[in-house]
């Protein structure tokens, strides 16, 4: 019962080569036997003659089979292309027939579009190529394919075009580093991602991001480069290198998996334009419970702009002095383990029904900040993700998902008596809070409608009027995304923004994405 169906044409070849082999053996035998008695020679001669005649006959038969197959192939191919084998000029009658067929097809297409409630798609939808062409020896041989290379490699590009009532959207509205930075076109995320098994003990991941600034200058950053253990006992896993801290849901996701064009306001406030990431180590433990529960503890170096609310030198003012929330920063050097940033997280998941999954989590981030020698920051967050997916999901559609994160922070800002904007700044605790909630509805294969609402606020600080990262803000963003395939998307999004310091603003953005190569699977 093993699949032997492919053996049909091979059988003839086998017969033929067997015959060749036998006849050559025969010839050799005849030569060796030359010294034998003459009547035997005569006998052999006779046999040889017969064998040769037989051989010629078989050759002739095979030639006939080949000719007839060739002829049949010509006929069949001609029938397939609707042209006679000898290809005489197309008659007027034939031409008319062709035209009638084309008209019928166009009519049918319109009718189907109406029946299915879709638009007649542009040329992309009408591939004139034959379906699944058969392999021929003329086709090139395979050079590389998944599983034959030591790593997955992919290249993903996000581009945005759009406009805003704000003269410079990046000044106050779009504070994330991958958000659109200006009216017109921006390309803020072209990432090269690699991943693979290092050896039996580790997996490795790398993410290199290229961005174009307002002046189209390219900047490059090593967004992530880390290894993860695969063979630790006791349900433990250790991650080490540069990576996004596992705080909440979106912080550790790459921009091309986001449901909206831009980063939620509260995340840019707490974690800065780049998200919270640092050279770090993280240990995680899968708890022995009947439902998914995982505990994480990240220990981050926490220095620099990507550890925004921690040992971040801030940005230089007009005098070239580094400031953060208005305060002059000091370059704090690690004095002990208390100066690292600790990021604990606990996440659980429940299958509410066969079609509904819920993930809930709580996270924290604790560490020093650079406004004074003893100043510290605490950030707390809760998050939840709920998803319903049809039991008859086609390519994962239809689905409805709901994601919400809420954050609260206390930033211990040290006093800066030398500050001039707006004047000497006192030591104060800056409390910030905010949340975003987004619902996505994958209403048919490859189409997702989304709505996001956001709110962020904080208590009043002495520097607030000059601080784009503080003050009350709300934002409503409806969006519509079309995925032509798994590897591309086109997204239209509108933002209504209201801010304490900038009033009402409106923006419309259109985002394009394409992904090349093999990209590692994503988390739920």
């Amino acid at each position: 019962m093993a699949p032997t169906d492919a053996g049909f044409p091979e059988k003839n070849v086998m017969k033929f080569s067997k015959l060749m082999g036998w006849s050559s053996a025969f010839c050799l035998g005849a030569t060796l036997l030359q010294a034998q008695e003459t009547n035997e020679v005569e006998q052999l001669k006779q046999q040889l003659k017969e064998a040769t005649a037989n051989f010629d006959r078989v050759i002739k038969e095979q030639r006939q089979i080949i000719d007839s197959l060739n002829h049949r192939l010509d006929v069949v191919q001609a029938a397939m292309t609707n042209l006679p084998a000898s290809a005489p000029p197309v008659t007027a009658e034939q031409e008319q027939k062709n035209r009638a067929a084309a008209e019928e097809k166009a009519k049918l297409e319109q009718q189907l579009a109406a029946e299915l409630g879709t638009n007649v798609a542009p040329s992309m939808a009408t591939p004139a190529v034959p379906l699944a062409p058969a392999w021929t020896p003329a086709q090139p041989m395979t050079v590389a394919r998944a599983g034959s290379s030591y790593m997955n490699i992919s290249f993903d590009t996000l581009m945005v075009v759009g406009s805003s009532t704000a003269h410079d959207p990046s000044a106050q509205l779009e504070l994330g580093d991958h958000d659109p930075i200006k009216r017109g076109f921006s390309l803020r995320n072209a990432e090269i991602a690699v991943d693979g098994a290092v050896d039996p003990y580790f997996k490795g991941f790398g993410n290199i991001v290229l961005k174009l600034d307002q002046n189209n200058q390219t900047s490059i950053e090593l967004e992530e480069a880390y290894m993860v253990t695969t063979a630790l006992p006791g349900n433990l896993q250790v991650k080490a290198g540069q990576f996004f801290a596992n705080f909440g849901r979106q912080n550790s996701q790459h921009p091309h998996t986001w449901a909206f064009v831009d980063d939620p306001i509260i995340l840019t406030r707490e974690f800065g334009p780049d998200g919270l990431r640092s050279v770090a180590a993280q240990v995680s433990y899968l708890l022995p419970l009947p439902f998914y529960t995982e505990a994480f503890l990240g220990i981050l170096d926490g220095q620099g702009g990507t550890s925004f609310s921690f040992r971040n030198p801030g940005d230089p003012d007009s005098q070239g002095v580094n400031r953060f929330h208005g305060r002059m920063t000091i370059d704090r050097v690690l004095e002990g383990p208390q100066d690292l940033v600790y990021v604990p997280r606990l996440a659980s998941s429940f299958e509410l029904t066969d079609q509904q999954t819920l993930v809930v989590g709580a996270s924290g981030a604790f560490g020093p900040n650079d406004t004074g020698p003893h100043s510290r920051t605490e950030i707390y967050g809760v998050d939840m993700y709920w998803k319903w997916k049809s039991a008859h999901a086609n390519e994962g559609f239809p689905f409805v998902s709901w994601q919400t994160e809420g954050l609260f922070s206390r930033f211990g800002a040290a006093a800066d008596p030398t500050a001039t904007v707006p004047g000497p700044l006192p030591a104060e605790n800056l409390h910030d809070w905010g949340m975003y909630s987004q619902v996505l509805w994958g209403f048919k294969p490859h189409w997702v409608a989304g709505l996001r609402g956001e709110y962020a606020d904080g208590d009043t600080g002495a520097f607030d009027a000059n601080d784009v990262f503080r003050g009350q803000r709300t934002r409503i963003s409806p969006g519509l995304t079309w995925f032509p395939s798994e590897f591309s998307k086109i997204r239209l999004q509108y933002n209504y923004d209201h801010g304490e310091f900038f009033g009402d603003q409106h923006s419309v953005w259109m985002q394009f994405e394409f992904l090349l190569g093999a990209h590692g699977a994503h988390k739920f």
Binding site: M1, A2, D5, L108, A146, G234, N235, L286, A393
Partner: protein, 306 residues
């Protein structure tokens, strides 16, 4: 700080605490076709869990956290090995931190072993749609392949759990015996329709077509993973009319409305099919019952004159 250390210590203790002795082999199958055969072979010596539901598109299963827990506790994972699950399984296995399921370990059972995959692309080019680099992964629709998988599963289970070897051998013998008897019946049922054409929604049926001498090379999708468009459907309809094709097969997760529209325009019959036991009513009993349903449904539809 002290509190944190105590907590961590407790967690570590829990982690190393020995599990209650588990007598049964804990097996997780990615899709219900492998799962059902694993159940046949494993019998009462195994606990078989399945990840994908029989009614959902196996290419796009969510990597739910509950799957991590299942895989974490499994003695073996049974997967296709032909990239059908590439969008969700690798990540789950990474997070499951179960060395028994490592690629190459006896507990990682790839069902494509020993099976000649069809339609292996010679060049990788996504302008042709979402093609599978290692060949068409829907190989279980040929019962001959199911037989190979059953044999492979029995060998793998024996390697993992030698003391139940006799049971696995006996179950294998029973399963293949039934399958062989049914195979003859199925081939007889479809023999009158040799060479007949069927339209499918997605290119998931080359193994079924080859086994039973049918031709399934016209699809409602213009290219794998690209949803049907009116222009392409118009072409399909014209070809169906020209070649007198009168059967369209649709999986439970595919858009039946599209197939019905084409059927209305061609007078064809839409047949609900599945590659997974439980995917359509009357296939819940396992792989053989599912194949039985498939062959009978297709034969019945082909028997009707257009």
């Amino acid at each position: 700080m002290k509190l944190r250390i105590n907590k961590l210590g407790m967690m570590l203790l829990l982690a190393f605490a020995p599990w209650a002795a588990q007598a049964k082999l804990n097996v997780v199958a990615t899709t219900p076709d492998f799962g059902s055969i694993a159940r046949e072979i494993g019998g009462d010596k195994t606990d078989v869990n399945m990840l994908a539901r029989p009614t959902e598109d196996p290419h796009f299963v969510d990597a739910k956290p509950s799957f991590i827990v299942k895989l974490n506790r499994a003695d073996a994972v049974v997967e296709g090995g032909a990239e059908l699950e590439i969008g969700w399984l690798p990540r789950l296995l990474d997070d499951a931190r179960n060395t028994k399921l490592e690629s190459g370990a006896p507990g990682h059972i790839a069902c494509n072993q020993g099976i000649q995959l069809m339609d292996v692309p010679t060049t990788l080019d996504r302008s042709k749609g979402d093609i599978h680099a290692s060949g068409n992964p829907h190989f279980m629709t040929d019962p001959a392949n199911a037989r190979i998988v059953a044999q492979h599963l029995a060998e793998a289970f024996i390697a993992l759990d030698p003391k139940s070897a006799d049971t696995y051998q006996a179950n294998l013998k029973k399963f293949t015996g039934e399958l062989d008897a049914k195979m003859e019946e199925w081939q007889k049922l479809l023999a009158p329709y040799k060479g007949q054409q069927i339209v499918a929604y997605h290119d998931a049926w080359p193994y079924f077509a080859r086994r039973f001498g049918l031709t399934i090379d016209l699809f409602l999708e213009p290219k794998p993973g690209i949803p049907p468009t009116p222009a392409h459907l118009a072409e399909v309809i014209m070809k169906m009319k020209a070649d007198k094709i009168h059967v369209i097969i649709v999986d439970p997760y595919q858009n039946r409305k599209t197939a019905e529209t084409v059927a209305r325009n061609t007078g064809a019959t839409v047949v609900d099919v599945t590659q997974f036991p439980g995917g359509v009513k009357g296939t819940e009993g396992g792989y053989i019952q599912m194949m039985d349903y498939l062959v009978n449904a297709v034969a019945k539809a082909l028997a009707q004159k257009p």
